[in-house]
């Protein structure tokens, strides 16, 4: 059966001599993996249309249950500017990795698709350098939209005001709830500054364009980024590849 859909390439993996397995986000099928014959040959008809972050219209061929084959791909927006900027590409890779890790395969979600597409467009048009604030807001919103946001607005159990984040609960807890026998905690909490909590809440509740106007302090971004990384590490039971990559290359 031949189906046509829009797609955003999240990652690719070499397969056999010149083939690729492409993981992409689609509005009507969710995240899918598809096979493409020979795109790595320099004269392939796919051209650069299967490179990561490309927004394209693709044709898929295949039976249900088996991996579909991409028979055609026409670029809608290549977003090559994002691949040409080292820093932007690593940060976008992190968003792709979070999405692949949190979103179940083949679960259609139009909202996530349009969110991801809007992030690509926003990063492409932004002239800020570096775009750290934008990327961290995007991470927070991606967690919120997939239903995995850490609960940082008051104690996750009773709502009382607190600044202590417990990664294994994915939430802020007040001292009373944290000491309750029903909560088993393995790690000491992370104390988060009030302005970081404020910025986070704003980021997930307001449109991105509004949040970026807040011009958060560098320390706020560093702190929020660390909280999100810690939260993800607990959620996924592993450190994200792109987080390690970012940490390793940023030092230089």
């Amino acid at each position: 059966m031949l189906t046509k859909t829009e797609s955003i390439v999240l990652k690719t993996r070499k397969y056999s001599e010149a083939d690729l397995i492409v993981t992409c986000l689609t509005p009507d099928k969710g995240i899918i993996s598809a096979f493409a014959k020979s795109p790595r040959k320099t004269r392939s008809r796919f051209g650069s249309s299967l490179e990561p972050l490309t927004h394209a219209k693709i044709s898929l061929w295949g039976k249900e249950q088996s991996m579909p084959k991409i028979t055609q791909s026409d670029i809608i927006n290549s977003f090559h500017e994002l691949r040409d900027n080292f820093h932007d590409f690593i940060n976008m890779s992190k968003l792709s990795e979070i999405l692949i890790a949190l979103m179940p395969e083949a679960a259609p979600n139009k909202k996530i698709f349009s969110f991801f597409l809007s992030i690509l467009a926003l990063i492409k048009s932004s002239e800020e350098e570096p775009k750290d604030a934008l990327f961290i807001i995007a991470q927070a919103r991606l967690l919120a939209i997939t239903g995995y946001a850490p609960r940082l607005k008051g104690c996750g159990k009773c709502g009382r005001k607190s600044q202590n984040f417990y990664p294994d609960s994915g939430a802020i807890l007040c001292s009373k709830c944290a000491s309750s026998q029903y909560v088993r905690l393995n790690e000491a909490p992370l104390k988060i500054a009030d302005r970081t909590l404020g910025f986070y809440t704003h980021s997930i509740e307001w449109p991105i364009v509004t949040s970026r106007r807040l011009k958060p302090h560098k320390d706020t971004l560093t702190e929020l980024s660390a909280v999100i990384d810690m939260h993800l590490k607990y959620l996924l039971n592993k450190k994200l590849h792109s987080s390690s990559f970012l940490a390793g290359t940023e030092r230089e």
Partner: protein, 196 residues
Amino acid sequence: MNSGIVENLINELSRLPGIGRKTAQRLSFFIIGMPKEDAVSIANAIIAIKENARFCRNCFNITEDETCSICLASRDKSKICVVEEPSNLIVIERTGIYKGLYHVLLGALSPIDGITPERLKINELVQRVKNGGVSEVIIATNPNTKGETTAQYISQILKPLGIKITRIAYGLPIGGDIEFADEVTLSKSLEGRKEM
């Protein structure tokens, strides 16, 4: 149904890239029909490469000795051409145009797959440049996202060393029509145009 040893050969052969089950089956039956000496010589060649092939300690090309024949030859030692895999080096050598040395990274950077700079031979490249005598590093990683990310990273860390860093040109495939080129390839070819 094939017997155990035939099935085994088919399975082993189909582990090779570009060889599907059908091809593996065809090759297996071809091998069965071959004179024994010919089949043994194929098997020995495979064993020999696994026992004797290693990476050149200087450039990480594949060699039988500590240093590869390219590093030992009298070539322009002021130029280093950086490639992802030994197979890329062979293709560039075949052009006969390049007379300098190489550096094989043994992969390309990929943040989403956790392929970090430490997993490639990048530090070794920096060390070679620091050792002196190098005036130009030509980055010939693949013209795709991983290759481009690698090229950007390498140029970033080599820049402070004050040498010339170049990237192979993006171009249209020869023999093709502009009409069939995609927008990214075409825009990169325009950016990299040459005066005539």
